[in-house]
């Protein structure tokens, strides 16, 4: 059996996904508004990138995505980077390919991750920039933002969890009979 190294392919797909999410963050996020909540495509990217595993790459991807968000938004630099690194590690601590093995759990866990990251982010901003009431933060920002994030995340997880998909399979190609993601 010959195992093909798909490391470069995985990285290339990660970069493409990052570019797509960056463009969506700049173009689409300002337009999509519920209450005062916007989707965070950097969070979506960090979560989606964490599920297939892949060593330290998802952690770096989450960190850089968070930095990109911090630099293009008005929040303190480092805040979203910190939260996304924590979320990325927490979602896949054992570095498994969860996207192919357990897509349903990925969706469930991503919902928890979105809620947690957005809640901590909003509360941290409330501490740093006092002003809005806690009710406004919770009901006009946290819940709408979380809803947006999850709605934007679901299509990514569904598409990327399909083992035979040829588009941006961060999970890494087709599965063989043993369930390993190796090409024969």
């Amino acid at each position: 059996m010959m195992i093909v190294n798909d490391q470069n392919q995985r990285l290339r797909r990660l970069v493409i996904l990052a570019l797509v999410c960056a463009v969506l963050q700049l173009i689409l996020a300002p337009v999509l508004v519920i209450g005062a909540g916007h989707p965070n495509f950097c969070l979506v990217f960090a979560i989606v990138a964490s599920f297939p595993g892949g060593g330290v790459a998802p952690l770096w991807a989450a960190f850089l995505a968070g930095l990109f968000f911090d630099l293009t938004a008005t929040s303190p630099v480092g805040l979203m980077a910190l939260l996304l690194v924590l979320a990325s590690f927490a979602l896949n601590p054992q570095d498994r390919d969860r996207l192919v093995e357990e897509p349903a759990r990925c969706l469930r866990d991503s919902a928890f991750a979105v809620l947690a990251v957005e809640l901590i982010y909003q509360l941290m901003l409330l501490v740093i920039f006092p002003g809005p009431s806690i009710a406004d933060v919770l009901f006009l920002r946290w819940l709408p933002s979380s809803l947006w994030d999850w709605m934007c995340l679901v299509p990514f997880v569904v598409v990327l969890s399909r083992p035979t998909t040829d588009v941006l399979t961060l999970g890494g190609g087709k599965k063989n009979l043993t369930g390993k993601r190796y090409k024969l």
Binding site: L11, P58, T72, L125, V137, G173
Partner: protein, 324 residues
Amino acid sequence: MAQNSSLSGLGRNDDGRLRTFVILVVVSIVLLTLACRPETKPVFDAAQGAASVVTAPVRAVGNVVTMPFRGLGNVIGNLTAPEETLSELRDQNEQLIAENALLREQALAAERLEALLELQSTNKLTSTGARVISGAVDSATSTITIDKGSTSGLEVGMPVTDSLGLVGQISECNPTTSVVRLITDERSGVAALVQESRAQGQAEGASDGSLRLTLVPSDQKVELGDIVVTSGLGGVFPKGLPLGIVTSVNRGDGELYQTIIMRPVALTTPFEEVLVVTDITDDQHATAEEADAAQRQDANAQANAAQSPEDGDDGGADGGADGQ
């Protein structure tokens, strides 16, 4: 045989991954700490400004591309519209098609005149035109980004208006772009007065997109539908710019100040062009009489509070002042 497990990603073991995780967490915390310190904050502000400049072309393109989708909210309403409404709309559509041809010609003329708009003053304002290239990308603030910055003579603090009224104030100024904090942002504060009764207060933003008129004593007359304009106190905003229309007035028993909610005059529809007020003349500041009136209003409120100290300790402010 090229054997290199794809499962190991970049070839790091678990220890390496954990080490990377710890390093990135520490780096993030260090960045966050430095970004919040007043001494080092300007460095990060500059970095955010640079990022804003670099991403401005993408945002500008996105603003054009997403323009047709901003009316998607109307689609849901249209789906449930009754037949009578649809018939009426069809008739209107025929009229609009005819008018459209005429308007297209006028639009071409308007485009040519737009270049001159930068040199014109609207409402006797010394202003420069700018295009909106993006809204806020995060949910923490209510801001827009415009396509002009310090190289066009803009500065932090300059008021921004559209054709309807005050929009906000420049909060960040980069070389080619500027971030405008909208009046609906919770951190915005504008000295304001009720046009009818001349009652003075401070307009503040709220998370739900409305405005609150604060510091208006309970003995001042404010009615539903009253128009609230900038008062010119503080010298930041020119006086007389429309801010909002009063939609709710609540005078609680024993309360020192009224709770007044307004609907913003501007910001109600998507806007593409704005005017940045670059200079305020003397006659656009509040007059000495108006400043005296504000002080008398505050003095009366304080006196009322002193007469009935049990009524509350809301404190006072100098009739509201423009703030950033």
